[in-house]
C-alpha cells in the first residue's frame, strides 16, 4: 500500500469495473464498439484491393487479320478485363479515356497481322489513363503478358514454349489481396478502438465532473492510469483477437505462425496504443479536443504504417518516424504470422519498439495527470 508503488487492490478493482461498465453497460455503446469495426472489416476487406479486376478496356482494331483477332479474343477472355468497348475512330478511343469509360485502350494498326506473320514485331499501341496510375500500370502488365503469350502461341502454332523465367509467389501463391488486407485491418481497427476508448475516458470524466470526485478519493495516479488501461486493453485485445480469428476461419487465410506469440504481441500493441490514447486524454480538456487529437494521431499512423503502401517507398526520415508508430511494427508481425510463419527471432525484433513506446507513453500520461493537479 505504500512505498514506490502505492496500489490498493480493492480500489483498483472498483475502478476497473467502473471503467468496463461505463463502456459496456449501455447496449448502444456496446453496439457502437463492436458493430462498426466488424462491419468495416467485412466491407473494406472486399473494397480495399490494389489488384485489378473487372476494368473496362477499349479496342480500336484497324486490322482484320488472324493475329489481331486472336489478340483481341485473348484480352476479352482474360479474367481482369470487364467490358470491352469497341471504337471505330481515334477520336472515339480518346473519348473512352477522357470520360473514364476505359482505363486503357488498345489500338491495333492495319499492318499488325502482316507484321506478325512475316516474323517482324507486331506492335500495338496501348494508351493508359494516367489518372489511375496504379491500376493502369497493373493493367499494362496484364496486357503485356497476354501479348507475349499470344505471340508465342502464334509462333509455335500450338506447341508450348517456356517463359524465360519461372515466377513463384511465396506465402500467397495467387497473390490474393484479401490475405494481405484482413490481417492489416485487424491492426488498424484495433488501433481506432483502443485510441478512442482511452482518449475519451479521462476527457469525459473531466467534462462531467466525475474526475474531481475520483481525485478527492484516496486513489493514486498510478491506480487511475492502470484502471484506465486495463479495460481498454481487454476490449482492444478481444476485438483484435476476434478479427484475427475472422481472418483465419471466415476468410480462410492460412495461419502459419504461433498463435500464442501473436496474441502476446497483440496485447503489447494494444498497450502501446492505450498509452498514446491516455496521453491524448490527459492533455485534452474536452471531449472535442480528445477526438481531434485521436484523429491527428490515428490518420498519419495508418498512412505511414505500411498498410496502404510499403514503408520502404517513403523518404528516409519518414521511415525513421514510422519506427515510432506501433501499428507499423504490429503489421509486420501480424502479416508475418499469418502467411509467413515468422520465426520467434524476427517477431521479437519488431516487438521491443512497441514495448518502449508503451512504457514511454504510459509514464507520460501518468505525469500529465499528476501535473494537471497543479
Amino acid at each position: 500500500m505504500s512505498g514506490l508503488f502505492p496500489i490498493s487492490r480493492t480500489r483498483l478493482r472498483a475502478q476497473i469495473i467502473k471503467e468496463l461498465l461505463s463502456i459496456l453497460r449501455d447496449p448502444r455503446s456496446r453496439m457502437v464498439l463492436v458493430g462498426p469495426p466488424l462491419m468495416q472489416l467485412l466491407i473494406f476487406s472486399f473494397a480495399a484491393t490494389l489488384d485489378v479486376t473487372n476494368v473496362d478496356l477499349g479496342i480500336f482494331n484497324r486490322d482484320s487479320g488472324r493475329a489481331s483477332q486472336e489478340f483481341v479474343a485473348a484480352i476479352a477472355a482474360s479474367n481482369f478485363a470487364g467490358d470491352l468497348h469497341v471504337a471505330h475512330s481515334a477520336r472515339e478511343l480518346r473519348e473512352l479515356i477522357d470520360t473514364r469509360q476505359a482505363i486503357a485502350v488498345v489500338e491495333i494498326p492495319p499492318t499488325f497481322s502482316r507484321d506478325a506473320s512475316t516474323g517482324r514485331a507486331a506492335v500495338a499501341q496501348v494508351t493508359i489513363d494516367g489518372r489511375r496510375a496504379n491500376a493502369g500500370q497493373l493493367t499494362l502488365g496484364y496486357l503485356s503478358a497476354i501479348a507475349a503469350n499470344t505471340g508465342v502461341q502464334l509462333a509455335r502454332d500450338g506447341t508450348p514454349m517456356a517463359e524465360p523465367s519461372v515466377v513463384r509467389h511465396w506465402f500467397n501463391a495467387n497473390r490474393i489481396y484479401r490475405w494481405f488486407i484482413v490481417p492489416g485491418l485487424s491492426g488498424i481497427l484495433s488501433t481506432f478502438i483502443a485510441l478512442l476508448v482511452t482518449a475519451l475516458s479521462i476527457a469525459r470524466e473531466r467534462e462531467l465532473g466525475t474526475f474531481d470526485q475520483l481525485l478527492v478519493s484516496p486513489t493514486t495516479t498510478l491506480e487511475i492510469i492502470i484502471s484506465k488501461t486495463v479495460p481498454a486493453l481487454i476490449i482492444g485485445t478481444v476485438l483484435g483477437t476476434v478479427m484475427i480469428c475472422a481472418g483465419i476461419f471466415l476468410f480462410g487465410i492460412p495461419f502459419r505462425g504461433s498463435f500464442p506469440l501473436l496474441f502476446g504481441c497483440l496485447v503489447l500493441f494494444i498497450l502501446s496504443m492505450v498509452g498514446i490514447g491516455l496521453m491524448i486524454s490527459s492533455v485534452s480538456s474536452s471531449q472535442q479536443q480528445a477526438i481531434l487529437g485521436t484523429f491527428a494521431v490515428a490518420v498519419p499512423s495508418v498512412l505511414m504504417s505500411g498498410f496502404a503502401t510499403p514503408v520502404e517507398n517513403m523518404p528516409v526520415f519518414l521511415q525513421y518516424l514510422a519506427q515510432a508508430i506501433p501499428l507499423k511494427h504490429f503489421l509486420i508481425i501480424v502479416q508475418g504470422s499469418f502467411t509467413k510463419g515468422m520465426p520467434l527471432v524476427d517477431v521479437l525484433h519488431n516487438t521491443w519498439p512497441m514495448a518502449v513506446i508503451a512504457v514511454v507513453t504510459l509514464s507520460a500520461a501518468g505525469l500529465f495527470v499528476r501535473s494537471k493537479l497543479q
Binding site: 489478340f71 500500370q137 524465360p164 462531467l208 499469418f338
Partner: protein, 994 residues
C-alpha cells in the same frame, strides 16, 4: 378577448399570454397536464416549481419553440404554434444558459440579435446605448462573452432578449448560479421593465425569488397548483409560522425534535434560531412545551412563500436522520478538522486565492460564500486536494494535503453540485464503485452498501441509471456514495443548487444529524438559506477573506434603520458593497438607468409603438430576409475566425495530409530490395546479375546460396529474389525450351509481389534482347505503352488531386458536424430559434461561412498541389471551383444531418468519421480501384459523393475540362446533397419537440 383572431397583434388591456388547456407529452411522459393560466402585461409573473415540474416546457411553448400536444397558447392574440414568426417578433426569450455566443464579444452578441430582429442601423446605436446603460455593461463591450462573470453573462443575455423592446419577456431560470449581488441587479432591471408595461415571466426553483413576484404560477409535476399573488398563498399560513430564538448550540437538536412533532409540518435553521411551521389547525401546545424545555422563546413570525409551498406539498420530512442514527460517533484526533494558513493560489499573475487562513472545528458546519469569481471554488478545491496551493498549507484531519495526500483524502467525503455520478453505470454499480475506490472490501463493503440502500430506500432503483432517477433520489445516491466510507469531514460544493425545497430539507436533516455525530461539514453555496444552517460563514471577495463570523453576527452588521431584521442575502450584499466602498448605487431606490428606461418608454407615443410592431410583424412574416441572413453569416464567420481548432482543421490538417499523401503514400515502387542468387559462374550469368543491379527499381543484395536469402524473405528484409541457376549458360543455349531463371517474391505483400515479378521479368527481357546470342525466337507481339495525362506514371499525381477531396470532406462534414453539435450543446441554437429567423435562414447562415472556408481551402490545397508538388493543372480553375462548390453541398449537408441527429460532439465525431471520412478514403476510388470491388460494394460507392468529386478532380488536374463528365458528376453530387439537406431541415424543425 377573441382568441381566434389571427389578424395580427391586438392591443387589449387583457392578458398578454393566455394558456388554454395545455398538455405536453414526450412519449409516455406527460410534462404538462392541462395548464390554464393568464399572464398580464406590466406585471412580473413567477413561474415557480421544483425541478422537473414542467417550467421549461411551458416556457418553450410560450416562446413558440415547441408545439403543445393539446390545448393552445395565444400571445398578444397570436397563436404561438401557427404564427410562430409573428410571436418571435414580439417576444424576448432568455434560455437557461443565457443563449450567448461565448466566442463573440458583448457588442457582437448584441448586434447579432438586433439584426435578427430586423432593427436598422440607426435604431441600433440608440437602443444599444440604452441597453448598455441599463445593464451597466458599457465598459465591457469589447470583452468576449465567455470571459464575463456569471452575473454579467446573465445581464448580457437579458440585453439580447430585450432587443427591439419585446412585449413579452420570458426568462428561464435567470437566477441559477448567480450570486446575490448580481441577482439584485437583475431584479432592479426587471422591475423597470414591468413598470414600462412589459409582461415578464421569470421561472425559478428558488422560492425566495417567487415571493418577490407580483403574481405566481406554481407548477408541480405538470399541474398548476396555485395561481395568484404570492401573498394569497402565504396568507393561508397566518399564525402558523414561529421562531424559537436563542437556542444556539442546541438548535440542530431542537430542529430535529420539532420536526418529529406531529403538529409541525416544516422547519429550518436560521442562524441561532429555529423556524417552524405548524400544520393546519394544529395545536401549538407541544411546540410551546418544546421551546420551554430548551429554554428558547417562541415568537410568531410572518409566513414566507416557501412555508406555504412546503405546506401545499404536504410538509417536509421528519427530523430524524436514519443515516445519522446508524452512524457511529466520529472520532478525530484533533479538535481542528480543517485548517489552512496563508493559502494562496496563483494562475500566472492573477491570484485566485490570496492569503486565506481559517480553522474549522470538529463538528462544525462551515460555509464558504462569495460572489461569482471571488475565489471560493479555488479555495475549496485546494482544501480537498484537487488543486495544489502555490503558497501556504492546508490540513484535513491533521494530515497535510501536500505531504500526506492519500491519508488526508481518506478522511474526507465529497459531494458536488452536479452530483458527480456515473451516468453510464447503474445505481448499484455506482455504490459498488464508491465503496471500492475508498478501499472497502468483503463483508464490510457488502454491509455498508446494503445499509445505504436501506437508509436511502434505493432498492427499487438499483438497476436504473442515475440519470433517469428523480432528482431527490439522485441526491440520495450522491450522498450514499460520498458517505460510504464514513468520512469525518464532508465537503459539499453547492450541494442543493436547483433542488426543490422538500429534497433540500431532507438533505439538511441528514447533514444536521451527521454533524451531531461529530462530522465536520465544509460547504460552498450561492443559496442564502443554506448559509443559515452554518455555524460560521466565511465570505470571500476578490480572492480575499473579507468576513468570518456566525450568520447572526454577519446579519447584525447589515442592520439599518429601515432594515431592522436583515436577511442573510442583505448581509451578503452589504458586506460586498462595503468592501467596494461605494454604497450609494444600489442602496438608493432611485436608479438613473431604470428611470431612463421608463422615460424612454413613456416618451414613445402609441402610434409609434404600433408602427414599430407592424414593421416587426412584417419582417417576421418574411420567411427569408437577407439582413437576418447577413447577421447570422457575420456571427458564424467571427466565431470561425476566433476558434483556433477550426482554423487548425481547415489549414493545418490539410497541409499535414497533403504532405503525407505526397511522401508517405506512394504506390511507386523504387529501390525494392531484391536478392540476386548467383549460382552460376558464367560470364552471361554475371552480366544478367549486373543488369539487375543496374536498374533504379531494385536495390540488390547479392548472394550465392538461396538459403541465405530465403530467411530474409520471411523477416521482410527482401521483397523477393532471383535465382540464376548453375546451368544458366546451358539453358540459355537451348533457346527457351526451359526457363532461364527463377523469380521468388514475397506474396504476403501482393502489390509489391506483382511489381517485383513484372520488373524482374522486364529486366530479364531487356537483357535477353541485348544479348542476341542467348535470345530465344522473338515474341511476335509487343505493346507500345503510352500513359496519357501522366506520362511519368507518377502515382503522386494521381493521389494528390484526390487528397483535395479528403480535405474537403474533413472541413465540410467533420467540422460542420462538430460546430452545429456544439451549438446544440451550449443552448445557443434555442436562443436563435426563438428569434424571427427561419430554419432555412439559420441553416444557410450557418453553412455559408463553411462553404466559403471550404472553397478557400480548396484553392489553398490546389495551389499547394500545383506549386509545391508539381502536379499540373490542365483544366480550368472555373471547372475546379464549380466542382468544389457542387461537392460542398453534400459534404455540408451530411455534416448538418449528422449534428441534428447526434446533438453531442462525441457521437457527431464518430458518425462523421464512419460515414464521411472513411468512405471518402476507401470507397471513392482514391486509392482503391472501384471497378475491382465486388458488385454490392460497387453499388455502395455510388452513394459516396467523394467518388464523383475525386473523379472530376483528377480530370481537371491531369486531363483538362471534360464538361459532359463534369456535369454528370455535379448532378450526382447535388442530388446526394439535396437528400441530406431535406432530412437535415426536417430533423432540425422538430428537434426541440422530441
Amino acid at each position: 378577448m377573441d382568441a381566434n383572431s389571427s389578424a395580427g397583434p391586438r392591443r387589449e388591456d387583457g392578458a398578454a399570454v393566455i394558456v388554454d388547456g395545455v398538455v405536453k407529452a414526450f412519449g409516455d411522459l406527460r410534462a404538462l397536464r392541462g395548464i390554464d393560466a393568464q399572464i398580464r402585461p406590466g406585471r412580473l409573473t413567477g413561474l415557480v416549481g421544483p425541478d422537473g415540474a414542467g417550467k421549461t416546457t411551458l416556457m418553450r411553448i410560450m416562446a413558440g419553440l415547441m408545439t403543445p400536444t393539446e390545448g393552445r397558447v395565444s400571445l398578444c392574440g397570436l397563436d404561438v404554434s401557427s404564427e410562430g414568426e409573428a410571436v418571435h417578433a414580439i417576444t424576448g426569450y432568455m434560455p437557461q444558459r443565457f443563449g450567448l455566443y461565448e466566442d463573440l464579444t458583448v457588442l457582437q452578441n448584441m448586434s447579432l440579435y438586433a439584426e435578427l430582429r430586423g432593427m436598422n442601423r440607426r435604431q441600433h446605436s440608440d437602443t444599444f446605448e440604452r441597453l448598455l446603460d441599463f445593464t451597466r455593461l458599457q465598459p465591457f463591450t469589447g470583452r468576449l462573452a465567455g470571459k464575463l462573470s456569471g452575473g454579467m453573462k446573465q445581464k448580457l443575455g437579458l440585453a439580447c432578449a430585450l432587443m427591439a423592446t419585446p412585449r413579452v419577456l420570458l426568462l428561464d431560470e435567470p437566477g441559477v448560479g448567480v450570486d446575490p449581488v448580481s441577482r439584485q441587479d437583475l431584479w432592479r432591471m426587471v422591475k423597470a421593465l414591468t413598470d414600462d408595461g412589459m409582461a415578464v415571466v421569470w421561472s425559478t426553483a428558488y422560492l425566495d425569488e417567487a415571493e418577490r413576484c407580483e403574481h405566481v404560477l406554481l407548477l408541480n409535476e405538470g399541474k398548476l397548483e396555485f395561481d395568484g399573488p404570492p401573498a394569497a398563498l402565504t396568507g393561508r399560513l397566518h399564525d402558523r409560522s414561529f421562531r424559537i430564538d436563542e437556542v444556539g448550540d442546541e438548535r440542530r437538536a431542537v430542529l430535529a425534535r420539532a420536526l418529529d412533532l406531529e403538529s409541525v409540518c416544516d422547519g429550518v435553521i436560521q442562524g441561532a434560531a429555529v423556524r417552524v411551521v405548524l400544520r393546519e389547525n394544529a395545536d401549538r401546545e407541544p411546540l410551546e412545551q418544546l421551546a420551554a424545555e430548551v429554554g428558547g422563546s417562541l415568537d410568531a413570525v410572518p409566513p414566507r412563500f416557501e412555508d406555504a409551498f412546503v405546506d401545499l406539498l404536504g410538509g417536509g420530512p421528519g427530523g430524524t436522520s436514519e443515516l445519522a442514527e446508524r452512524m457511529q460517533a466520529v472520532e478525530l484526533d484533533s479538535e481542528i478538522a480543517v485548517s489552512c494558513r496563508h493559502l494562496t493560489k496563483r494562475f500566472g499573475d492573477f491570484a485566485a486565492t490570496d492569503d486565506v487562513s481559517f480553522e474549522v472545528r470538529r463538528g462544525e458546519i462551515f460555509g464558504l460564500l462569495g460572489p461569482n469569481g471571488a475565489g471560493k471554488s479555488t479555495t475549496f478545491k485546494m482544501l480537498c486536494g484537487l488543486l495544489t496551493p502555490s503558497d501556504g498549507e492546508a490540513h484535513v484531519a491533521g494530515h497535510n494535503l501536500r505531504s500526506a495526500t492519500s491519508q488526508a483524502k481518506r478522511q474526507l467525503g465529497y459531494m458536488a453540485q452536479k452530483f458527480s455520478l456515473y451516468g453510464l453505470l447503474s445505481v448499484g454499480q455506482n455504490l459498488e464503485f464508491s465503496a471500492g475506490v475508498y478501499g472497502l472490501e468483503g463483508r464490510i463493503k457488502r454491509e455498508r452498501i446494503d445499509e445505504m440502500i436501506e437508509i436511502f430506500q434505493l432498492g427499487p432503483y438499483l438497476k436504473a441509471s442515475p440519470d433517469s432517477l428523480p432528482l431527490g433520489f439522485k441526491q440520495r445516491l450522491a450522498m450514499a456514495c460520498a458517505l460510504m466510507h464514513r468520512p469525518p469531514v464532508l465537503f459539499l460544493d453547492e450541494p442543493t443548487s436547483g433542488v426543490d425545497p422538500i429534497t433540500r430539507r431532507e438533505f439538511w436533516t441528514h447533514i444536521n444529524g451527521l454533524v451531531r455525530r461529530g462530522v465536520t461539514v465544509m460547504v460552498t453555496t450561492h443559496f442564502m438559506d443554506e448559509a443559515e444552517y452554518c455555524d460560521r460563514v466565511a465570505l470571500m471577495y476578490q480572492s480575499r477573506l473579507i468576513a468570518l463570523d456566525t450568520p447572526d453576527a454577519l446579519k447584525q452588521k447589515a442592520v439599518t434603520a429601515e432594515r431592522p431584521e436583515p436577511t442573510m442575502e442583505d448581509a451578503f450584499i452589504h458586506l460586498v458593497e462595503a468592501e467596494d466602498g461605494d454604497n450609494e448605487e444600489t442602496a438608493t431606490d432611485a436608479d438613473p438607468a431604470a428611470d431612463q428606461m421608463r422615460e424612454h418608454a413613456e416618451s414613445k407615443d402609441v402610434p409609434a409603438t404600433a408602427k414599430r410592431d407592424a414593421r416587426a410583424q412584417e419582417i417576421a412574416h418574411r420567411r427569408f430576409d437577407l439582413r437576418r441572413l447577413a447577421a447570422l453569416v457575420r456571427k458564424e464567420s467571427l466565431q470561425l475566425v476566433r476558434d483556433p481548432s477550426s482554423i487548425l482543421i481547415a489549414f493545418a490538417l490539410p497541409v499535414m495530409l497533403l504532405f503525407l499523401f505526397a511522401y508517405a503514400v506512394s504506390l511507386d515502387i523504387r529501390q525494392v530490395r531484391l536478392g540476386v542468387v548467383l549460382e552460376s559462374d558464367g560470364a552471361a550469368a554475371h552480366s544478367l546479375a549486373a543488369a539487375f543491379s543496374g536498374t533504379r527499381y531494385f536495390e540488390v543484395t547479392p548472394a550465392h546460396d538461396r538459403r541465405e536469402v530465403a530467411g530474409q524473405l520471411i523477416s521482410g528484409k527482401l521483397a523477393g529474389y532471383v535465382v540464376i541457376p548453375q546451368d544458366f549458360e546451358t539453358r540459355a543455349a537451348r533457346h527457351g525450351s526451359e526457363p532461364l531463371v527463377q523469380i521468388i517474391t514475397d506474396g504476403s505483400q501482393p502489390n509489391t509481389a506483382s511489381f517485383v515479378a513484372n520488373y524482374a521479368n522486364g529486366v530479364l527481357g531487356n537483357w535477353l534482347a541485348s544479348h542476341a546470342a542467348a535470345l530465344p525466337p522473338a515474341p511476335r507481339i509487343t505493346l507500345k505503352p503510352r500513359f496519357w495525362f501522366n506520362p511519368e506514371i507518377d502515382t503522386r499525381r494521381a493521389l494528390l488531386p484526390g487528397a483535395v477531396a479528403i480535405v474537403m470532406t474533413i472541413i465540410g462534414t467533420l467540422l460542420t458536424a462538430l460546430v452545429v453539435a456544439r451549438e446544440w450543446e451550449r443552448g445557443t441554437m434555442e436562443a436563435i430559434m426563438s428569434t424571427p429567423a427561419s430554419v432555412p435562414e439559420i441553416l444557410i447562415g450557418k453553412l455559408l461561412p463553411y462553404f466559403l472556408l471550404g472553397l478557400a481551402a480548396t484553392i489553398g490545397t490546389a495551389l499547394l498541389v500545383i506549386l509545391a508538388f508539381g502536379v499540373p493543372i490542365r483544366g480550368s480553375w472555373l471547372a475546379l471551383l464549380a466542382m468544389s462548390s457542387a461537392f460542398l453541398v453534400p459534404a455540408l449537408g451530411q455534416g448538418l444531418l449528422i449534428s441534428s441527429m447526434a446533438r453531442n460532439q462525441f457521437i457527431a465525431a464518430q458518425l462523421a468519421l464512419l460515414s464521411g471520412f472513411l468512405p471518402a478514403f476507401l470507397l471513392s476510388g482514391f486509392i482503391y480501384e472501384i471497378d475491382s470491388m465486388p458488385l454490392p460494394i460497387r453499388g455502395l460507392t455510388h452513394l459516396v459523393a467523394a467518388r464523383y468529386f475525386i473523379d472530376s478532380l483528377r480530370t481537371v488536374f491531369l486531363a483538362g475540362d471534360v464538361w459532359p463528365m463534369f456535369l454528370a458528376n455535379m448532378a450526382a453530387m447535388l442530388a446526394i446533397g439535396s437528400v441530406f439537406f431535406f432530412f437535415a431541415m426536417r430533423k432540425t424543425r422538430k428537434t426541440l419537440d422530441t
